[in-house]
């Protein structure tokens, strides 16, 4: 069992996970066990600069904001695809670079079109 190459990797992964989650776990345990939860109506009310909040926030808002978010999402996912390419970058030939260039330029052209259409004007 100890001989499989991935065993040390698993140990390191668990250690990293534990290192991250242990303080959080301690804090949650402390909050549950020692300090009592004391919610009340005023404490749970919506904070609006010290006033009681009138009206609700579920209101129509401009569609530009939604499109802004979608365009950001595209490039976010593109970055995820670039990661394996960047990791193996030294071992790759020219053809891989050209393929990745096509991928990047395709999305850049999409952004240029959106910009020209004026989707990104915020006001």
């Amino acid at each position: 069992m100890a001989s499989s190459p991935y065993f040390s990797l698993a140990i390191l992964f668990l250690a990293a996970l534990g290192f991250g989650l242990a303080p959080l776990g301690l804090a949650v345990a402390w909050a549950k066990l020692v300090s009592p939860a004391k919610p009340n109506a005023i404490k749970n009310a919506i904070y609006e600069c010290g006033l009681e909040s009138k009206g609700d926030a579920w209101v129509q808002f401009r569609s530009a904001y939604y499109l802004y978010a979608i365009i950001f999402l595209i490039f976010d996912v593109e970055a995820v695809f670039l990661v394996p390419f960047a990791v193996a970058f030294t071992g790759l030939g020219i053809s891989a670079c050209v393929a990745m260039l096509v991928f990047v330029l395709l999305l850049a052209e999409g952004l240029a079109w959106a910009w020209a259409k004026g989707v990104l004007t915020w006001a």
Partner: protein
């Protein structure tokens, strides 16, 4: 098992640190008291001057002024609380997460100060919410605010984790909801929160505290 200080210092020199959960708990909380960004009047300017370069409040771990009450554990009431602002102050205090502390900075926050003869001025915030440290002065010097921080840190340090002396936030029975006064036709209703208003002993026995 109380650890004598001499032994603790001795061990400390050799790099061994002996402590109790209570000390670490209080040490952690007292050195990172995050104040609420909450300035009312002239004392707020002295509070801002305290966070600036000359009287650096960052040395006490308190220069992070959080705008939202959810992330703050100290409310520095710096300035005059008028009757129009009092409900907002009490609501903000309620919306702060426990453990929460209050520093009444300046004469106006403690007792209405020079404006106590005004018709729209609340004569001291300790009529509605419990106050931990009072700083006299109008406005108190930045060093006086830092001295108040040290008083507050000493008070936090002395809080035991269990037993009757334990702080409000560890005590399930302690009051954690402070009713917000409403604005009536002539004055705030109720004029004071009887459970909180610390009337001095001889007068409290008198019939005036209703």
């Amino acid at each position: 098992m109380a650890v004598e200080d001499k032994l603790k210092i001795e061990l400390g020199k050799q790099g061994v640190f002996v402590t109790t959960v209570n000390e670490i708990y209080n040490w952690g909380r007292k050195n990172s008291v995050w104040p609420l960004q909450f300035g009312l009047a002239c004392c707020a300017i002295e509070m801002i001057a305290t966070t600036m370069a000359r009287y650096d409040l960052a040395r006490f771990g308190a220069e992070v002024f959080r705008p939202s009450p959810r992330q703050a554990d100290l409310m520095i009431i710096s300035g005059t609380i008028t009757k129009k602002m009092a409900p907002q102050v009490v609501r903000l205090y309620n919306q702060m997460a426990e453990p929460r502390y209050v520093i009444a900075m300046g004469a106006c926050a403690i007792s209405g100060g020079p404006f106590k003869q005004g018709y729209n001025v609340l004569k001291g915030i300790d009529r509605y919410i419990p106050v931990d440290v009072h700083i006299p002065g109008c406005p108190p010097r930045p060093e006086a605010l830092i001295h108040a921080f040290m008083t507050l840190q000493a008070k936090i340090d002395a809080q035991p984790l269990t037993g009757t002396e334990r702080p409000r936030h560890l005590d399930a029975a302690a009051m954690s909801e402070f009713p917000v006064p409403t604005q009536g036709a002539h004055d705030l209703e109720p004029p004071a929160n009887r459970l909180v208003w610390p009337l001095p002993a001889p007068v409290a026995s008198g019939e005036n505290c209703g």
